[in-house]
C-alpha cells in the first residue's frame, strides 16, 4: 500500500477527483491532503448521500487507496443512476407550473400535448351616481365578475375552455366550448362563446379600457351557443370567424335553448395587413362583422333593452311588441395601437322586424351606435387590444416601481329609429338618442392587479314625460381587478 503522503500519480488523480467532487477549497490548502483527510471527507459525503459502504471499514483499511477509489466510483455510479432515474422520471412526470402571468398549469410529459390551465378573473366595483333626482340609482359595491376558468389542450386536436360565473345571485357559465383544431387556419368551436360581431364586446372582460362597454356594445350580441369555424390566414394578418348560433338579442347573452326555433348566422373578418412589418402601421387593424337571423316572440329574449354607460336602461319597446322576422347587424370596426397610444372605433347597426299584434302594425327598426375610444399609457408601456399586459416597473411597497398608468377617454352615441315612436316604444320612458362621454384612469399595479376609475356622462334626447329629455346620467365607477 502506498504511503499516505506520497504524491504518486494515483494520489494526485484521486486528490483532484475528490477536490472536484467535494468542491473543496483547494486554493486554501498549502499542501496536498493526506489520504486520511480524503477518506474523512469522502465518508462525510457518503453520510450525506446515504451511501456509506456496507462493509464496515476500519480506520486502517479505509485509508487504502483502492478502497477510496471504489467508494468514489460507487458514488459516481449512484449519481449517474440517480441522474438517469431523474431523466426517466421527468420523461413520464407531468409538469406543474405556477406563474404570475400564466397562472397554474399542468402539462403532460413529452410531447406535452395535454395541458390543463387554471385561470381566474375577479372584478369588484364601486358605483356612484350624481344628480340622479329623476331616476334615483343605488350607489353600490358589487362583485361584477368572479370567473374561474379551466382551459387547455387535450392532444393536438382538442382544446377546451370552461369559465364559471360566480358573481350574482346564482352561479352560471360564461365560456364553455370545445375547439377542434384541424389547422391554425380552421378551428371548429362548439359551445358557448362570444358571437363574432362587436369589436369591444370581443375584448376580454379584463382588458376593456373602461369599466363598462361603450354604447355599441348594446347593439352587439353577447355570448351565444352554436358552432363556429374560425382561423387565421396569411401569416395571421387575417382572422375570420363564421358560425351558426341560437341567436342572442342585442347587448345580451343568448338563452340556454333556442325558444323561437330560429338560428342566427354571424361572421367577421378582421385584417391587420402590416402586423408583421414592425412599421408605424403595424398596430392598425380593421374589419367588418355582421349577423343575420330571424327572431320571433315577445319579451326580453327577442327584443332588446338598451342601457347607458352607467348600466341604466333608457330604451325598451312596449311590452306588447313582438319581434317578427329578420334581425340583421353589420359593424365596420377598427383599432390602431402605436407605442403608448391606442385608438378603437366601431359602428354598429341593428335592424329588427317588429310587430304590434293588437293593431297588426309592422315596422323594420334600424338602431345604430358608434364610439371612439382613445388611451395613452403615461408610463411608456405599449397600449394594446389586450390592455397593458406587463408594467415596466411593477408597484412594490417601499421601492421605486409605480406600475403602469393609462388615461382613457371615450365618446359614443346610440340612436333609436324614429319609426319606433310612439307605436312601438313609449317616448315618455324610452329615449330616442344617447350621447355619452367618459374619461378614466387605469392603474396597472402589476400584470395581475388593476385599479380603474371612470367618470361617464350620458345625455339623452327624449325619454321623459311630456316630450322632455331624460335627465343626464353622471356616473363614477371604480373597479379593483385581479386576474391570472
Amino acid at each position: 500500500m502506498p504511503t499516505p503522503h506520497r504524491t504518486s500519480s494515483p494520489v494526485a488523480w484521486l486528490s483532484g477527483a475528490l477536490a472536484c467532487a467535494l468542491v473543496a477549497p483547494a486554493q486554501a490548502q498549502s499542501a496536498p491532503p493526506t489520504v486520511e483527510e480524503l477518506a474523512r471527507r469522502l465518508q462525510a459525503i457518503e453520510q450525506r448521500l446515504g451511501t456509506a459502504p456496507a462493509a464496515t471499514a476500519t480506520a486502517d483499511n479505509a485509508a487504502g487507496l483502492s478502497d477510496l477509489d471504489q467508494r468514489l466510483r460507487v458514488i459516481e455510479r449512484k449519481l449517474e443512476l440517480q441522474s438517469e432515474e431523474a431523466a426517466t422520471r421527468a420523461a413520464s412526470t407531468p409538469t406543474v407550473s405556477l406563474s404570475a402571468s400564466k397562472g397554474l398549469s399542468v402539462k403532460s410529459p413529452p410531447p406535452g400535448d395535454i395541458e390543463v390551465k387554471f385561470k381566474g378573473l375577479v372584478q369588484g366595483d364601486g358605483r356612484f351616481y350624481f344628480d340622479d333626482d329623476q331616476y334615483p340609482q343605488n350607489d353600490t359595491f358589487l362583485m361584477r365578475r368572479i370567473e374561474p376558468t379551466i382551459e387547455g389542450t387535450w392532444g393536438s386536436l382538442i382544446g377546451f375552455r370552461v369559465t364559471a360565473q360566480l358573481a350574482g345571485d346564482s352561479a352560471t357559465t360564461s365560456d364553455v366550448y370545445l375547439d377542434l383544431k384541424f389547422d391554425p387556419r380552421a378551428t371548429v368551436r362548439i359551445g358557448k362563446t362570444k358571437a363574432p360581431v362587436g369589436l369591444e364586446r370581443l375584448q376580454s372582460s379584463g382588458s376593456t379600457a373602461q369599466v363598462e362597454l361603450g354604447l355599441p356594445g348594446e347593439l352587439a350580441p353577447g355570448r351565444d351557443i352554436g358552432v363556429q369555424l374560425q382561423g387565421e390566414l396569411a401569416k395571421s394578418t387575417v382572422s375570420y370567424a363564421l358560425g351558426v348560433y341560437n341567436g342572442a338579442v342585442d347587448g345580451r347573452d343568448g338563452s340556454t335553448t333556442n325558444p323561437d326555433n330560429d338560428f342566427e348566422v354571424a361572421a367577421r373578418v378582421f385584417v391587420e395587413p402590416w402586423k408583421n412589418d414592425g412599421n408605424a402601421l403595424a398596430g392598425l387593424g380593421f374589419g367588418i362583422a355582421g349577423s343575420t337571423g330571424d327572431k320571433e316572440g315577445v319579451g326580453s329574449n327577442f327584443l332588446p333593452r338598451y342601457r347607458s354607460s352607467g348600466q341604466v336602461q333608457f330604451f325598451n319597446y312596449r311590452a306588447a311588441v313582438a319581434a317578427d322576422g329578420e334581425n340583421t347587424r353589420w359593424s365596420p370596426q377598427a383599432y390602431y395601437y402605436r407605442n403608448a397610444f391606442g385608438l378603437l372605433g366601431e359602428y354598429i347597426n341593428s335592424s329588427q322586424d317588429i310587430r304590434l299584434p293588437a293593431t297588426g302594425a309592422r315596422e323594420t327598426i334600424d338602431n345604430s351606435a358608434w364610439q371612439l375610444s382613445a388611451g395613452y399609457v403615461l408610463t411608456g408601456e405599449d397600449a394594446g387590444y389586450k390592455g397593458v399586459t406587463r408594467p415596466n416597473h411593477p408597484f412594490t411597497v417601499g421601492s421605486a416601481g409605480w406600475g403602469a398608468w393609462e388615461l382613457v377617454a371615450r365618446y359614443g352615441e346610440l340612436d333609436i329609429d324614429d319609426d319606433a315612436f310612439p307605436v312601438f316604444a313609449d317616448p315618455a320612458v324610452a329615449a330616442r338618442n344617447a350621447k355619452a362621454w367618459g374619461v378614466g384612469v387605469n392603474w396597472y399595479l402589476n400584470s395581475n392587479f388593476k385599479l380603474v376609475a371612470n367618470y361617464t356622462q350620458t345625455n339623452f334626447e327624449g325619454g321623459a314625460p311630456a316630450g322632455a329629455d331624460r335627465e343626464d346620467e353622471k356616473a363614477f365607477f371604480t373597479r379593483a381587478q385581479f386576474s391570472f
Binding site: G50, T51, A52, P53, A54, A55, T56, N61, Q70, R73, V74, E76, R77, K78, E80, L81, E85, F182, V227, L229, L242, V244, D262, F263, V265, T292, G293, D294
Partner: protein, 341 residues
C-alpha cells in the same frame, strides 16, 4: 337560412372523415413488429430480427420492420401493461409475462403452453464474472458474503435477471444450510455487499465492467460470455462457475390483443417460431444462450457451455407464481432482506 351552413358543415365533416380514412389506409401498408425484451438480449435480437426479416421477405415478399425495446424485464412488463403496444414479448422470466396476462389481460393465461419447452426457446444460467486473476478468490456463493467483497447485481424488483441471481443464491443457501433463518441471513449479508443496485442486468454489467465497481458480477451466462468475447474486455475478466446455479428460462409470447389490433398475428407467430428453427437456435448459441433444442446446433457451437449443476424454478421453488409471491411481491422475502439506504 339555417340549412345552408348545416349542410355545408356536414359535407366538410364527411370530406374530412374520408380524407382521414384514406390517410389511415395508406399508412397501414408498412408491416412493423415491436419486440419488447429484457436487458441483455440487445445483440441477440438485433441479429435475429435481421435474419428473420430477410427470410420473411423471401417467403412472402413482405417487408417487415422489427423494432426492439430493451430494459429491466419487470419494468418492460409494466410498460406493456400500461399501454406499450408490443406485438411480442421476450422477457427474462415467466412471471413478467404472467403479469401481462393477469393484469393487462392482453394474452391468455395459458400462453406458456403455445410454444415448445414452456415457450422458452433458449435457456441460460447464472454465473460469476470476476476480474482477471480473481483477486478476491471468489469460487462459490459463500465467498460473496465475505467482508470487503463487493457484489454487483441489479434490483430484483425491476430486473428479471436479478431475480434469477437471487433465486440461484437462495437455492445454494438452502442446500448449504437447510435452515430458513440461515438462508435469509445469507441473502441479507449478500445484499449488504451490494454497493450499487442497478435497475437492469445491462446496467449492472456497465457498473462492473465499464465503471470498474465491485469484485464480482452475478450475471447471465450469455452476458458473461459476451463480455469475454469483446476485444476490449476479454483479457480483463474471467468466468467462475458456482457449485450450484439455476436454469433460467427466458420465455417468449405473442401479445394477442395487440397483434389482433395491428393485424400482425401471422408475422408475430412466425417470428417467435423462427427462434426454434436451426437458424434461430444457432443464433441463440452464438449469443451465449443455451439452445432449448441443442440437436439443431452443431456440436462445436455448444462447446462453450460448461456443465453446471442447476436447479429449476419448478423443482426448487414450486414455479414462478409461488416464487414471485413469496420472494418478490411487496412484503416478500426480498423486502425483508434488503433495506434501501
Amino acid at each position: 337560412m339555417t340549412r345552408t351552413p348545416r349542410s355545408t358543415l356536414l359535407r366538410s365533416l364527411a370530406l374530412g372523415f374520408a380524407l382521414a380514412l384514406a390517410g389511415g389506409t395508406a399508412a397501414a401498408k408498412d408491416v412493423e413488429l415491436l419486440n419488447v425484451s429484457y436487458d441483455p438480449t440487445r445483440e441477440f435480437y438485433a441479429e435475429v430480427n435481421q435474419s428473420f426479416a430477410a427470410q420473411w421477405k423471401q417467403q412472402t415478399g413482405e417487408t417487415l420492420k422489427i423494432r426492439a425495446s430493451h430494459g429491466g424485464s419487470g419494468k418492460q412488463a409494466r410498460s406493456v401493461i400500461d399501454g406499450l403496444e408490443a406485438d411480442v414479448v421476450t422477457l427474462a422470466l415467466a412471471a413478467d409475462i404472467d403479469a401481462i396476462a393477469t393484469n393487462g389481460k392482453l394474452l391468455p393465461a395459458n400462453w406458456q403452453t403455445r410454444l415448445p419447452h414452456n415457450s422458452a426457446p433458449y435457456t441460460s444460467t447464472i454465473v460469476f464474472l470476476v476480474r482477471k486473476g480473481n483477486p478476491k478468490q471468489i469460487r462459490d456463493w459463500s465467498d460473496l458474503v465475505k467482508p470487503g467483497v463487493a457484489v454487483i447485481t441489479p434490483n430484483p424488483k425491476t430486473s428479471g435477471g436479478a431475480r434469477w441471481n437471487y433465486l440461484a443464491a437462495w437455492a445454494w443457501a438452502s442446500q448449504e444450510y437447510r435452515d430458513g433463518g440461515k438462508v435469509v441471513d445469507f441473502l441479507t449479508r449478500l445484499f449488504k455487499n451490494v454497493p450499487v443496485l442497478d435497475t437492469g442486468a445491462r446496467g449492472a454489467t456497465t457498473t462492473f465492467v465499464e465503471r470498474g465497481i465491485g469484485d464480482v458480477l452475478l450475471a447471465w451466462e450469455n452476458e458473461a460470455l459476451l463480455t469475454l468475447s469483446e476485444a476490449d474486455t476479454r483479457d480483463k475478466f474471467e468466468v467462475v462457475i458456482p457449485s450450484l446455479s439455476i436454469k433460467a428460462e427466458p420465455p417468449v409470447a405473442w401479445v394477442d390483443k395487440n397483434i389482433d389490433r395491428h393485424g400482425t398475428r401471422k408475422q408475430a407467430e412466425a417470428y417467435l417460431r423462427y427462434l426454434y428453427t436451426p437458424e434461430g437456435q444457432r443464433l441463440a448459441a452464438k449469443h451465449g444462450y443455451r439452445p432449448a433444442e441443442p440437436d439443431k446446433v452443431p456440436a462445436a457451437e455448444l462447446a462453450r457451455f460448461p456443465q453446471v449443476k442447476q436447479v429449476t424454478i419448478d423443482g426448487a421453488f414450486g414455479g414462478w407464481k409461488k416464487a414471485q409471491a413469496e420472494h418478490f411481491a411487496d412484503g416478500g422475502f426480498f423486502d425483508k432482506i434488503y433495506q434501501p439506504k
